[in-house]
């Protein structure tokens, strides 16, 4: 039997032209991506400034959420420190690219270097902060890390409030306009019209956000489909199995923490650009929790899910705000109804609970299910996310059904 088996193996590989490394891909997905991209590119021609500004904020959240999802969803290391790394990125940007000078009582210092340098420095320094914390991050069990990382947020808050010279202290400081090789992402300089639509700050930032978010998305997606990604996912399911198969568990935990904090650093810079300033209150524990909400709602472990989650969580309060008088139950502040921010928070809290209880694969899982319903009714392919959320590994006993996650 054996000789033929080997030949058959080779034959099978050749005939399908496929190897174990490259799973089957449908055409639908790239097509969908192309359509979304096209719409996104044309958007400034049709929608007003509010939506473009929201869009840029969402792009920043997308970057941050993808980074957090690599750590929490893919690797199973719970972190509440994301807001801290966002802060590192944002502060670095405003310090490196901002100018020295007085603001009220505060005496600010800044290096006034080109904004690109500031952005890169923000990413790198956030990474460095992650690296400094990684001796702890790499050795802690996921759940210990969850609480330990809480500490970083509070320490970060303290530093933001006290190190006035750099951070602007309690009142914060403004963020310099972004520019790239002389092209500013502001309202003028140069004046720009496309099809007679003026391309001002909002339009320009929108494209910047799109590029950065797309890059963040592709990097993470490639990562997950390759050697380090597989190691991280196995590490989540069973640290012992991963290490016995040759994965240096501590190093990988440290690495993914580093990568995740660099994503957060970039998201922080983008946040500073989108608001135009930074303040300590923008990097509190709530922010970490909102990011967690994004990846849980989107689908733990799924890059696309992080995008959906970020879209949902960061856009919802803004939409509530804008349509406060139309959305039921939500009123303007002080009118007895729920403030838009509160309404959104209630919704997030509830959504987190419901997702964990009933739909562990999140929005990404829902999308999958719809797509599958179109193709092969009944055929069940659990997403990696569903397995991430419900079963740590298949510790199957003969009589046991397959782990929870796979039956959905």
């Amino acid at each position: 039997m054996s000789e033929s088996t080997a030949t058959a193996a080779r034959g099978a590989t050749r005939s399908t032209g496929r190897t174990a490394a490259g799973p089957r891909r449908s055409l639908l997905r790239p097509l969908l991506l192309a359509v979304v991209l096209l719409v996104a590119l044309a958007l400034p021609l049709y929608v007003e400034e509010f939506w473009l500004r929201t869009g840029f904020a969402v792009c920043g959240a997308v970057v941050g959420a993808i980074g957090l999802n690599l750590l929490v969803g893919t690797t199973g290391q719970l972190s509440l420190a994301h807001a801290f790394f966002l802060a590192v990125g944002a502060v670095t940007y405003v310090f490196v690219s901002g100018e020295s000078g007085g603001l009220g009582l505060a005496d600010l210092s800044g290096l006034a270097w080109p904004p690109v340098v500031g952005m890169i420095a923000g990413v790198l320094l956030a990474g460095l902060a992650g690296l400094l914390f990684s001796p702890i991050a790499a050795r802690l069990r996921g759940i210990y890390l969850g609480v330990a990382s809480l500490g970083l947020v509070f320490i970060g808050q303290h530093v933001l409030n006290s190190w006035t010279q750099v951070t602007g202290g309690f009142n914060g400081r403004s963020a310099p306009e972004f520019s790239l090789f002389g092209f500013t992402f502001g309202n003028t300089d140069p004046d720009l019209y496309v099809l007679e639509v003026p391309f001002r700050e909002a339009e320009r930032l929108w494209y910047l956000g799109l590029v950065l978010a797309l890059g963040a998305y592709l990097f993470a997606r490639n990562l997950l489909r390759s050697r380090p990604g597989r190691a991280l996912q196995t590490l989540r399911d069973s640290e012992v199995a991963a290490s016995v198969m040759g994965v240096n568990v501590q190093r990988y935990k440290a690495r993914v923490f580093l990568v995740s904090s660099m994503y957060a650093g970039l998201a922080g810079v983008m946040y500073a650009l989108s608001i135009g300033s930074i303040a300590p209150e923008s990097f509190g524990l709530e922010v970490s929790i909102l990011y967690l909400a994004m990846i849980v709602l989107g689908g733990l472990g799924s890059v696309g899910g992080a995008v959906l989650g970020a879209l949902f969580v960061s856009a919802l309060p803004l939409v509530f705000q804008r349509y406060a008088d139309v959305v039921p139950l939500v009123g303007g502040s002080g009118e007895g109804g729920l403030a838009p921010g509160e309404a959104a928070r209630f919704l997030f809290g509830l959504a987190i609970i419901l997702v964990i209880l009933f739909q562990p694969a999140g929005l990404a899982g829902l999308a999958d299910r719809f797509r599958r319903r179109g193709r092969d009714p009944g055929g069940g392919r659990p997403t990696s996310a569903s397995a991430a959320a419900t079963s740590s590994s298949t510790t199957a006993v003969p009589s046991d059904p397959p782990a929870q996650g796979s039956t959905s």
């Binding site: 000789e3 193996a9 590989t13 040759g246």
Partner: protein, 293 residues
């Protein structure tokens, strides 16, 4: 007491495993007490014993998951008792888990590719940017993984998530993943536990083929006596953390202490069945090698 009749071609770079006086304690409990044995290159060596005898603990020591309090484990110039699990994997010691430890949400192919981890280099940057070398590496190793999957009859399930596979298939993925590391020493922790008779036979065949085609050593923990007696060149028997016997299957079966241990625990070896299995095992090991190498 020389090496028993092993495979025709023992790989030249497969050293013996020398386990010398290994003791493992958990608090006040001694899980292993001064256990010694040797796995000769290219042999199938079985560790048997009643429940709680310390078989799995021994495996955990060999793969670096547990630290031995005393004693040493040598594999060529390496001291396994001083190495971390991933380092042990790096020198060609692979292991399958008794309780399946696969990633349920990943496909068979992805699980198997993990076995190639220490043979591949792509890091975060190369993988994230899809540098050509990372892509090429993935393709080359993917082909080998497909071969190994085919060998263990998993070829048509490569892109199926492990979580939806049958139990027997999952067990085979476990073994396949260990094989994907191109081991010199393969540790199989109860590879047929919970399998039906037919699946067991197929797995036994596969183990024999692996050994003869690759010329590597196989260390096996197994409850299925028929399988042990038919496959193993040599058997080490543990009871309450001590080694109570060590020898060829025939020698061990006659050993009064072994009989006592098994009768005592109610986990009896049926001599007739074992002997029969031993006879059939001899013939099966002479089959043509089919392991793609």
């Amino acid at each position: 007491m020389s090496a028993p009749a092993a495979a025709a071609d023992v790989r030249s770079d497969v050293p013996p495993v020398l386990v010398e006086g290994v003791t493992v304690r958990f608090g006040a409990i001694t899980a292993l007490s001064e256990v010694s044995f040797t796995v000769e290159p290219g042999t199938i060596h079985a560790i048997i014993g009643p429940n709680g005898a310390g078989k799995s603990t021994m495996f955990n020591v060999l793969s670096g998951v547990y630290r031995a309090a005393e004693g040493q484990v040598r594999f060529g110039e390496h001291r396994l008792d001083r190495m971390r699990p991933y380092q042990i994997a790096g020198i060609g010691v692979a292991r399958s888990f008794q309780n399946i430890a696969l990633s349920a949400g990943q496909t068979v192919a992805e699980n198997l590719m993990l076995g190639r981890h220490h043979l591949t280099r792509a890091g975060f940057v190369a993988a994230g940017l899809r540098l050509p070398r990372a892509t090429r590496e993935g393709r080359v190793h993917g082909e080998r993984v497909a071969e190994i999957a085919e060998f263990l009859e998993l070829g048509d399930k490569l892109h199926t998530p492990v979580g939806v596979l049958s139990y027997g298939d999952q067990k085979r993925v476990e073994v396949a993943r260990a094989l994907c590391t191109e081991p010199r020493l393969l540790l199989l922790d109860e590879p047929v536990a919970g399998m039906n008779a037919e699946e067991t036979d197929r797995m036994a065949e596969a183990v024999v083929e692996i050994r003869s085609a690759l010329g590597i050593s196989v260390l096996l923990v197994e409850h299925d006596m028929g399988m042990v007696m038919s496959l193993a060149d040599r058997v080490t028997v543990l009871d309450f953390g001590r080694r109570i016997a060590d020898g060829t299957p025939a020698e061990v079966q006659r050993d009064p202490e072994v009989i006592r241990a098994y009768l005592g625990s109610g986990d009896e070896i049926d001599p007739a069945e074992a002997a029969e299995a031993a006879a059939s095992g001899a013939s099966s090991s002479s089959e043509t090698p089919g392991m793609p190498s």
